[in-house]
Symmetry: C2
Subunit: 137 residues, 2 copies
DNA sequence: TTACTTGCAAATGGTTTGCAAAGGG
DNA sequence: CCCTTTGCAAACCATTTGCAAGTAA
């Protein structure tokens, strides 16, 4: 449980991870990054690199409703998602109505707000209309 | 992966779980519920009951940034949290600015929005001021 | 040279499951 | 009675860690 200190060394593996996230343009899970890897590396190396990068402010970590952690490059197209709880279809939401609220919260609580996570869930039109799910009632 | 169907039976254990959540007045993790239990029951029973109740719309499940799932009684004091990333102090936020946005989203995407998860993170005054954390730079 | 990095395998922690016994309607 | 519920122990999955060997600076 340490905080930013050790100097990060530039390695092929870390560059690969950063490149992957850069190209993805959206947060990815450790597993997804691992699958896209170009350089040979162990999954535990991916996890260690990601956490180190988060500690150094290079990356941002967010836990989605699927229970997994996703890592992304900060302020890179800040957006949220609306996910269908049946088929998992995902829609990106570009507007974020929380900037103002964060300001108010800082004043009200004295906290220095560093971020937020927001995710909407629902049923997509396809699943709601035609019964396109595995099973029904 | 089934959806609401089997008839739920009323058992001492399920009543205990519901009572605990009722009294807590806020979402709790399976582990927390298990610790507060009054009736003898296995942790797996807690998990099974919780999921069944979620499937029947009696409870709502939300994964927090700590990676754990929390279960709560719907619309019961709908609120969000602001959590200090250093000491984990938690502040409840009662206002929820998303109702309107959900309406818009439904229209724009055609999804039937069933819920959302929102969590703010930051550094609390105590941690920001005095270095009250385990270690520093 | 000297930390910082990595691979490997084993350990965690939260959650799920198979199966047979117990219990609610 | 029949079907749901429960306990137990084992299985799972995402993530973490100890340790010895490898490597950037």
């Amino acid at each position: 449980m340490k905080t930013t200190q050790a100097k990060l060394k530039t390695t092929k593996k870390r560059e690969d991870i950063l490149r992957i996230l850069q190209e993805a343009g959206k947060p990815l899970s450790a597993e997804e990054i691992y699958e896209k890897r170009t350089v040979e590396m162990n999954i535990s190396t991916v996890y260690r690199a990601l956490h180190l990068l988060v500690d150094h402010g290079v990356l941002e970590k967010t836990v989605y409703q699927d229970g997994k952690a996703y890592f992304g490059i900060p302020r890179q197209k800040h957006s949220h998602h609306l996910i269908c709880t049946r088929c998992h279809a995902q829609v990106d939401i570009d507007i974020c109505p929380l900037k103002g609220l964060e300001q108010d919260l800082q004043k009200a609580t004295g906290f220095t707000i560093t971020g937020h996570s927001l995710e909407f869930s629902g049923i997509c039109p396809a699943c709601a209309g035609g019964e396109k799910t595995e099973e029904k009632e």
